[in-house]
């Protein structure tokens, strides 16, 4: 018993060491970061955070990310919910193959699509817009959402649907009044995973934007590799990018366990 918890505690210690390091780095002065090795900042400073909030580039890219991520989540859910319903309720010709094909898209490496996407959205006059990134991310988020939602929907007996029709519900009313509340946790979980995926994806976001829709992940990476990296600033930005994810997870925390137990993440 004791040994088990010791292992767990040790693991959590290792888990939080890097995060802690980033957090305190963001609170140290630049001179302290470079000059000496300290486990706790000698002088806590918020100058890095102040700089980020003061910079239009940082602020703008935060906003850009939020916009296209939201767009992506909305589009994904709008098309994935009906598709998942079709997969969970009906076994039709080719449904298995279609399901597998959808999933392979989730597995495809983003790098493969980098150039063709750029060309495609150029041709569609969408290059460097939020919609372009949102649509590009749909390639990955739609299959994921369908997969998660299909799992949740399959857990709801078909007899519920039938009972509703027998009771006299029309399909739209049944879907809104009866079915949706039952799959709401699944919708939450899918939204969460679409959100995180879109929020962190780098290759496509970088390839499809220049200035107008430049996201935070690109701004973050831009400074890396160059000489004289502003470590304090980078850490502060890193801490800030973790916040939206934390907020979303707070809202869907209760459904997460169920998503995990269905094995669909």
């Amino acid at each position: 018993m004791k040994k088990r918890y010791f292992l767990l505690a040790l693991y959590f210690l290792l888990l939080f060491a890097p995060i802690y390091w980033m957090l305190i780095t963001s609170l140290k002065t630049d001179s302290e970061i470079l000059a000496e090795f300290t486990l706790f900042p000698k002088q806590i400073t918020f100058e890095h955070y102040r700089e980020i909030f003061g910079s239009p580039e940082w602020r703008g890219s935060f906003a850009n990310s939020l916009i296209y991520v939201t767009l992506n989540v909305l589009i994904t859910l709008a098309v994935a919910i009906p598709a998942a319903y079709a997969f969970s309720r009906w076994s039709f010709r080719g449904s298995h193959h279609l399901f597998f094909w959808l999933l392979t898209n989730r597995m495809a490496p983003a790098a493969v699509f980098m150039v063709p996407f750029t060309e495609l959205y150029y041709a569609m006059h969408l290059f460097d817009t939020h919609l372009a990134v949102a649509l590009a991310h749909c390639l990955f988020s739609i299959p994921l959402a369908i997969w998660i939602l299909e799992g949740f929907m399959s857990g709801i007996p078909r007899e519920i649907d039938e009972t509703a029709y027998i009771d006299g519900y029309s399909f739209p009313r049944f879907f809104v009044k009866i079915f949706f509340p039952l799959i709401a946790p699944g919708v939450g979980v899918s939204a969460f995973f679409c959100f995180t995926f879109s929020w962190v994806e780098l290759i496509l976001a970088k390839a499809l934007t220049v200035t107008e829709a430049k996201p935070i992940v690109v701004t973050l990476t831009a400074g890396i590799g160059a000489e004289g990296v502003k470590w304090g600033l980078l850490s502060a930005a890193g801490v800030l990018t973790m916040i939206p994810g934390a907020l979303v997870v707070y809202f869907v925390r209760n459904s997460m366990a169920k998503g995990f137990s269905l094995g669909r993440i």
Partner: protein, 366 residues
Amino acid sequence: MGIRAEHVGRSIAGRSVLEGVSCEIADGDFAVFLGPTGAGKTSLLRMLAGIDLVDRGAVYYDGQDMRGVPVRNRPIAMVYQQFVNYPSLTVFENIASPLRAGRQGLSAGEVTARVHEAAELLGLAGVLTHRPSEISGGQQQRTAIARALVKGAKYIFLDEPLANLDFKLREALRGELKHLFRKRGGAVIYATPDPVDALSMGTHVGMVLDGRLVQYGAARAVYDAPATVAVGEYFSYPAMNVVDAALDAQGTLRLSQSLVLHGQPEAPPGRYRAGFRAHALDLVRRSTADAALPATVQLSEVVGSDTEIHVRHESLPLTVLTEQVRRFDAGEAIELFLNPAEIFLFDADTGKLAGRFAASMAVEAH
């Protein structure tokens, strides 16, 4: 008027699940479809209700062809074997849902009144504010039944509604269901694997075996004249005893070395499969016509307030049902009495009913 099915059939993935079913269920009937698991009763119910599409044949409600009429526009209600209720709604809202979903245009007050009436009837008044997950299985199924009742649908379908309930609850609800659904305008269509359910609840019984409706008719008529040996075996509890037998021109039926009976058979001489239900055998002589046979006890089982004794007579395995609770030890020798009036003669090759062995002595049908 009522439900009429004509040569109904359905296939799934190229395999036929039900074929050539024709029957007529009149208003006021309580029709029970009886059959083992997987025989196609559920499919039949779903097709009659319109939940599954009919691949072949047609279904008529009151003479009107129902093909193409969606479920929500049909005058039906359904209760499933699994306790199907809307998990996110309270018991009250569940029962109210057919009143609110349809286009009946009832006022809120009327809805409340009708829900309370149904809830009262089914003993759910105390749990109306609970959610289905918070009440017992029996209450969940009562909620589903209340939802079906409150709709006032002409045709109510019940698919093994008691199968997942405890023994005592099943016993109590069986009588209640019969009472609840009596004297409604329409018909009740009920599927069950339990022969006792079929006889005790149904006005009519349809025997479904291997995807076919083998026999359909008034419950007692089917019970008293099973069309085939398979119907006889299934529509008996415990299963009917079936023995190879020879009938000669003098009306003498030879069932075993020592068991030879005389009667006025309805069938010509020949080889038959003789069937008699377990209660045709008893431990005491009930009439002078009874034939005595020696037997050895294999196992005795207490069934409710009766005892089912599995015995061997010569090499024949037989089952006896006797009205008392008694323990017999394996190997015990007992004497049994067989009432010849209760012997059915089935054709040895086709299994079809040829007639009773002792027609004149047959108990009059109710």
